[in-house]
Amino acid sequence: MSSSLHSSNPTVGKAFWATLKRDLKIAIRHRGELANPLIFFLLVITMVPLGVSPSPKTLAMLAPGMLWVVALLATLLSLDALFRSDFDDGTLEQLLLSPQSSYINVMAKVFVHWLTTGVPLTLVAPLLGVMMSLPEAGYIPLLLSLLLGTGSLSLIGAIGAALTVSLRKGGLLLSLIVMPLYVPVLIFGASGVRAAIEGFAYNTQLAVLGSFLALAIIAAPLAIAGALKMSVNN
């Protein structure tokens, strides 16, 4: 009996892939939603020259910080939907009840969130860099810092999403509780780009962003799983 039970349990890798494939499939079937953070990113960046100044010199000075802040906001706005539909239709409950550790399932879900928001935002960022007259030296560091940083943003933000998923109007609250936690990522991300523009080495900033990501990968899924259990149980 126990052996048959055991054999029916998929391995950790299989569980991760199953959740990953399912979430990716759902994301691809909602193509319109995929584009929303990107359009938001584009719109806000368009507002900057309109609101501040179209002079390339001013824009170049603002570019690293502005691109990072808006990428951060775009990630924030995408977070509310992260667990919402799974919570509503009961999938989340099944996921937490499954014999696999919830760490793996949560990790897979957040990974898909990163693939569908963090990676596209990173890839679009250089294009918006052109619109913001970002100096040439800033493009590679912008790509690298966003690639590393958005991973942390997804993981930290998922904690907030998990805490507020059972609330009907969780959106604004989610931003409120997550934004202070984003401060270190923003500081090192934006300053890495700025350092590169000014001709300094930026590997320190990238290394720190990488260590944030490592720490978030270890610790955040535990908090996310705990928060999801709290949200589902009541």
């Binding site: 904690i159 805490l163 507020t164 059972s166 609330l167 969780g170 609250l173 409120l176 509780i177 934004m179 202070p180 936690l181 401060v183 270190p184 500081i187 090192f188 300053s191 944030f212 610790a219 908090a223 705990g226 928060a227 709290m230 949200s231 009541n234």
Partner: protein
């Protein structure tokens, strides 16, 4: 046997009855310290050579900043105990610590701004410490907002406990990042205080810090006590306790 006190803490009734006798003592001793040290610090401590009398707001600013920070750890540790041992009392302490901490943090920012005007010529600068304290205020506001958002008390407790624990992991990282950001961006012309402080100024400051800690303890306990009454309103002992008072 040694852990008996800890198990007893599981009973809000025991805690309520035990602390009744402490409350007037805590309040009167802390007020006595704060008032008498205020007189000492404002009237008798020597004037600062550079800042004149304006430095005296330090006696409010430093204690509030220190206790504001400590309150966050009180909140987070209470939240952690609440999650691990499912202790009702600990959740109540966590809940009431958040607004007290937020008020202290806001007070620290306000007194800092008042101090900044005569010394730096401006109410606000993006100094590393000021920025960190501002983010601490945001962390408090997040916990309070989350606590308010849930109609179910048990969920509210769990959610804000998780958030305050996550915040605890983040606080050192935020502090270090902001520090690093500040040294990178700002000229180091603005320094808070010189590293040494004359003992005639230091002693009243230390006394004031003790006074503020005692006052914080009183505020925390009295808020916890009213939280106990609110949550246990349906029990017999609360009704009796309230009747006795009336």
């Amino acid at each position: 046997m040694a852990w008996q006190w800890f198990h007893r803490l599981g009973s809000p009734k025991w805690f309520y009855e035990k602390t009744t006798a402490w409350m007037p003592w805590l309040l009167s001793i802390s007020l006595l310290i704060i008032i008498s040290v205020s007189i000492w610090a404002l009237g008798f401590a020597p004037m600062d050579a550079k800042q004149g009398n304006s430095y005296r707001i330090m006696y409010l600013h430093v204690p509030t900043s220190i206790v504001a920070m400590a309150a966050y750890y009180v909140m987070a540790i209470a939240g952690g105990i609440g999650i691990i041992w499912k202790m009702k009392l600990s959740n109540m302490v966590m809940k009431v610590a958040a607004p007290i901490g937020a008020v202290l943090t806001a007070l620290a920012l306000f007194t800092g701004a008042v101090w900044g005007k005569p010394t730096w010529g401006t109410y606000w600068v993006w100094d590393a410490r000021i920025t960190s304290v501002l983010i601490l205020l945001f962390l408090y506001l997040g916990v309070i907002a989350l606590q308010e958002a849930f109609s179910d008390q048990e969920m509210a407790d769990k959610a804000s406990a998780i958030l305050s624990l996550v915040g605890t992991v983040n606080i050192p990282i935020i502090y270090k990042s902001v520090d690093w950001w500040f040294t990178l961006h700002q000229p180091a012309s603005i320094k808070m205080t010189s590293s040494s402080i004359a003992s005639e100024m230091l002693y009243p400051l230390l006394a004031m810090i003790i006074g503020f800690y005692l006052f914080f303890t009183w505020a925390l306990l009295s808020a916890t006590r009213s939280e106990i009454l609110q949550r246990e309103i349906k029990t017999k002992w609360v009704k009796q306790a309230l009747l006795q008072k009336a």
